[in-house]
């Protein structure tokens, strides 16, 4: 394999590696500035290689593109690993994310990350898989990010007829300590010169 071809393959492999959604060819072309033919070649190279060397993961073509999946042969071990995890952290993250989506829908992944202060892609996927949230179209801005909202299943879980029945937020008042902290910090907040 030529050096150039190997490099393109490795770049594309790194993209598959970090991506939590199927990547289609045109998106890969866009990100790598590589032509369609070369991208297709690289995808084939990767898929062949994984097959040939019987790796722990596979490249599969699914609706909308290509994505890496763990190899089904090793599922029993993966199950044991997932069961050995402490899921409290995931539960906390999932509930936080769900509450943001419920109250702020429709929202993008970026909105959620900005509010939680950490990348929340993994959690959004888990909630999607669980049928608690769904895609609601795309925002009409640069990049056209996907918008998310809650599902009928979410409403059913809480016995709600519609999302308007969510308890209102405004009755809430932060306790005195928090209010004081906010005020103090406001007083000393930065200025623009």
């Amino acid at each position: 394999m030529s050096e150039m071809r190997a490099r393109i393959r490795n770049i594309i492999e790194s993209l598959f590696f970090v991506s939590d959604r199927p990547l289609n060819i045109s998106r890969i072309c866009e990100v790598t500035s590589v032509g369609e033919e070369e991208v297709k070649q690289a995808i084939e190279d990767l898929a062949n290689e994984y097959r040939r060397t019987d790796r722990g993961f596979q490249l599969r073509e699914v609706a909308g593109g290509y994505r890496l999946y763990s190899h089904p042969a090793y599922a029993p071990y993966i199950e044991k690993l997932i069961l050995s995890f402490d899921h409290r952290r995931l539960t906390q993250a999932a509930l936080e994310t769900l509450s943001i989506i419920a109250y702020k829908q429709p929202v993008t992944r970026m909105d959620i990350a900005a509010i939680r202060g950490v990348n929340s892609d993994g959690v959004v996927n888990t909630l999607l898989n669980r049928g608690l949230i769904k895609e609601m179209g795309r925002q009409g801005t640069t990049g056209q990010p996907i918008l998310y909202g809650t599902t009928t299943r979410f409403l059913e879980s809480f016995g709600l007829r519609s999302i308007d029945e969510l308890p209102p937020l405004d009755e809430f008042s932060p306790d005195e300590e928090v209010r004081r902290q906010i005020e103090e910090n406001l007083r000393s907040s930065a200025v623009i010169e």
């Binding site: 509450s99 898989n129 907040s189």
Partner: protein
Amino acid sequence: MSYQVKLEVFEGPFDLLLNLISRQKIDIYEIPIAKIAKEYLDYINSIQELDLEIGTEFLLIAATLLDIKAASLLPKKEEVYDEDEISPQEAREILIARLVEYKKFKNVSAELAARYEAESKYYVRDVGVEEDFDSLVPDFLSGISLGKLRKLFLAINERREISLLQADHITPKPLSVDEYVKKIENRLKGVKAKSFRELTHDCTDKIELIAMFLAVLELYKRGIVKLGQAETFGEITVIVSGNVVTGNAEVVV
């Protein structure tokens, strides 16, 4: 055309003092402490004029410097100090020791910054549990009431507000307006006009909004955009009128 607005910021009194000291060209016929004390006070005065809140810590060190200075100007005589009172000489020794100690951490923080920077080039897989294994994850909603969900949402919002407000007043976060100029230029690529609201849809805090606004003004100054507003407090429209030219602008927010 570019502009530069930069206010020197210090992480605290020790940072300021070290900076002043490092700028000195030592002249043995001078009285360094007097000069340093004066510069230190000048700086404090200048930031007071800029209406920045001065930490008591800055004033405490100023007092210590003045104390040392006063002692150096008085004729030498053996003064008697109480046991629990610190003599200017002792205060000086303590100050030097603290400055050396602080400098050590300032040095190592540069090393940590470099590591953090290098580490930012590594990305982990954050995909979550694959669909096939989803049934192994416990039900998130078990035992969760609507009230709890609402509480969680409010708690996150609150946490966020506090951390946004807690920007250390001595170390404001520098935002480069030029970066925002570029951001706006990108967002205006291929369109004739956009509203300010559209341009700032993803701004997560006030400071960022302000930087975006400054960037719009900068683009207006450079003649790249025209601005329109139908009524007071109405939507501001940013209209593309010229070619994109990049310059350098930096502002400390």
